[in-house]
């Protein structure tokens, strides 16, 4: 009888010590990692200087319509009549006919400002993030059109599918307090 009681106590003691052991391991893990933690949430963003306009952003997002969209840095734009980001390589006429436009969804809108300047704005719901305009703008223009992750659409996945597919490693994590890496006249 006494022997039974002892063996139960021994098992209970062993279990209790393992219990406390596990708790201390978890506490140790917590303190070790606490120093590495950041208070702000981290979100995904494209570094426009690394992007090579490959077009993967339109296809690899887990959402139906990609959370990556084209953005325009107006201060950098040349406001050209012959915009190589708007018009395809050999346009019939320099106007906004669908046969002349690079954009497959017609999201890049051209409006006349004053002679000889035209303003180019992006209709965000139409943009699919295919980077055709970005490629054109970077090739022969100022590079004022670039892709960015739109955070009002992005679900902030733990592992971004586009980041995995990006050939130039342009995706990085940035703090949510400063979630955009916009092109500027100063840092272009």
């Amino acid at each position: 009888m006494a022997k039974d009681k002892n063996s139960l106590n021994r098992r209970q003691f062993f279990k209790n010590s393992l219990h406390i052991g596990c708790l201390s391991v978890l506490a140790g893990l917590a303190t070790m990692l606490f120093g590495k933690t950041v208070k702000s949430e981290l979100v995904w963003q494209i570094d426009p200087n690394k992007c090579i306009s490959c077009g993967n952003c339109a296809n690899h997002c887990v959402l139906e319509i990609s959370a990556v969209k084209c953005v325009h840095a107006y201060a950098m734009c040349g406001y050209c009549d012959l915009c190589t980001g708007f018009l395809e390589s050999s346009p019939k006429t320099l106007d906004s006919g669908a046969e002349n436009e690079l954009c497959p969804t017609g999201a890049l809108i051209r409006t006349f400002v004053e002679d000889p300047f035209y303003q180019y704005t992006i209709d965000e719901p139409l943009c699919i993030g295919c980077a055709k305009c970005v490629k054109g703008c970077n090739a022969f223009g100022n590079g004022s059109l670039f892709l960015q992750v739109r955070h009002d659409r992005c679900t902030n996945c733990n592992e971004c599918s586009i980041a995995t597919a990006c050939p130039s490693g342009a995706f990085k994590r940035v703090p949510a307090t400063n979630p955009y890496l916009l092109k500027d006249v100063r840092n272009s």
């Binding site: 933690t37 090579i52 300047f117 955070h151 902030n156 592992e159």
Partner: protein
């Protein structure tokens, strides 16, 4: 005519400016004469930080509620309602991300990558269920995890898995855990996130492969209870082992067990252990010999699996993007390839020295060599220990839950006559007041 002139000017300007750095000021910004206001680039904000902390608070509250429902109230109905809430909140509202299962990878990366910033909410998402399991059992699995909830919801016609099949199938979860930690720690991939079968349902969006995989899992889950939880979940493996040390675990009977056998087939997850009887002396000797053999086999198993796993380090290291890039660049530099791929083009435009890339890739490869060795050794240890536990005869006196496998779902409670007695007493004592 004016248009032709403009085009010619443009082409001339292009040729003169094309020798400067790429993408910059080929065309000078215009001087507007009319009062034109340049529009501002819009930036939609991400989710406010406060919601992250709200998520953690909701997790804590639901964990405490689940513990109360499972241990104190012993009510399946309450747990079910809480499970529906968790499915709605953590599953469909938060779209299943960040989850505690995936948080394992973030922690693994944070431990091995010096400049990886770990959000504090992710750390808490990992730790809170672990601590709650040490005290209350696997209540996280029963009522909070959205992946478990969606499987539990479709469990309509439970079919029990034979015990000889159940044990080896659980090994897949150990394998998944080791692979996930190895690939996360080396910074290669988050496979738990990538191959999450139900995320397409939570996001209500996904490619056809994800939807079909998720659908297949759900169809299987109609018959075999919680297949992901039992045979794949890497976090569940850790929770299961911690659950064996739990302070207050659910018991089938609120009182004592009279071995009436009514709860025998009540568990759809095969977590109920039957009482054992005295074994004759003859078998005892045979078992001693078997145990001795298995103990001797343990180190052999560890070493052999470690060496076997190390042979896979070559192709497994390809999962790392830098290694994959290095292989591609090497192929392009040393042989004549017809077409340059996008990654190689991008790499060449950065102006980085290929030799540095190769050195980095070799370093990662050596990391994989050590990593796969440890993975193999760990798996060998797990398999050997599993065989040993099967060879050990532990006398069980009552119908009890197998602590590692029991998900604290409270399904078995209503099968117990003592539970019915308790409920009746509660009702009558309530009336007496």
């Amino acid at each position: 005519m004016a248009r032709m002139f403009r085009i010619l000017i443009f082409i001339a300007a292009f040729f003169t400016c094309s020798f400067s750095a790429y993408g910059v000021d080929r065309i000078s910004p215009p001087e507007f004469e009319t009062g034109y206001q340049m529009p501002v680039t819009t930036t939609g904000p991400p989710r406010a930080d406060i919601y992250e902390y709200i998520d953690v608070v909701v997790l804590l509250l639901t964990l405490l509620l689940a513990a109360y429902f499972a241990l104190k109230l012993r009510s399946r109905k309450c747990l079910f309602v809480l499970m529906l809430f968790s499915l709605a909140y953590f599953g469909f509202w938060r779209k299943g991300c960040v989850c505690s299962i995936g948080a394992l990878q973030n922690i693994a990366l944070a431990l091995f990558e010096p400049d990886y910033a770990l959000p504090i909410s992710v750390l808490l998402f990992l730790l809170l269920p672990l601590v709650s399991t040490l005290f209350f059992g696997r209540i996280f699995c029963s009522a909070i995890c959205p992946i478990g909830a969606i499987q539990d919801l479709v469990l309509l016609k439970p079919v029990s898995v034979p015990s000889w099949l159940e044990s080896p199938l659980r090994l897949f979860a150990w394998l998944y855990l080791s692979l996930a930690i190895l690939l996360a720690a080396t910074g290669s991939a988050f496979i738990i996130c990538r191959y999450d079968p139900f995320i397409a349902f939570f996001r209500v969006s996904g490619n056809i492969n994800m939807l079909i995989t998720g659908g297949c899992f759900l169809i299987v889950a109609i018959f075999i209870g919680r297949p992901y939880c039992r045979f794949l979940c890497p976090y569940g493996v850790i929770l299961g082992q911690l659950s064996r040390l739990t302070k207050w675990h659910v018991t089938i009977t609120p009182d004592k067990c009279v071995k009436c056998r009514l709860c025998e087939d009540s568990c759809p997850f095969g977590a109920i252990q039957k009482p054992t009887f005295q074994w004759p002396r003859r078998d005892y000797n045979k078992d001693k010999k078997r145990l001795a053999l298995l103990l001797g086999l343990l180190p052999i198993m560890i070493i052999s699996l470690a060496l076997l796993a190390q042979t896979t380090s070559g192709w497994m290291s390809q999962a790392h993007p830098r290694v994959k890039l290095a292989t591609e660049v090497f192929l392009h530099e040393t042989t004549n390839v017809k077409e340059t791929t996008d990654p190689v083009l991008a790499f060449r435009s950065t102006g980085e020295d290929p030799q540095q890339l190769y050195a980095q890739a070799l370093h990662i490869r050596s990391q994989f060599k050590t990593g796969t060795f440890i993975l193999g050794a760990f798996l060998g240890l797990v398999i050997a220990l599993k065989l040993i536990t099967h060879a050990l005869r532990v006398p069980i006196s009552d119908y009890q839950t197998e602590k590692a496998a029991c998900l604290s779902c409270a399904r078995c409670f209503e099968y117990c006559p003592y539970e019915h007695a308790r409920l009746k007493n509660k009702l009558t004592s309530g009336d007496d007041k």
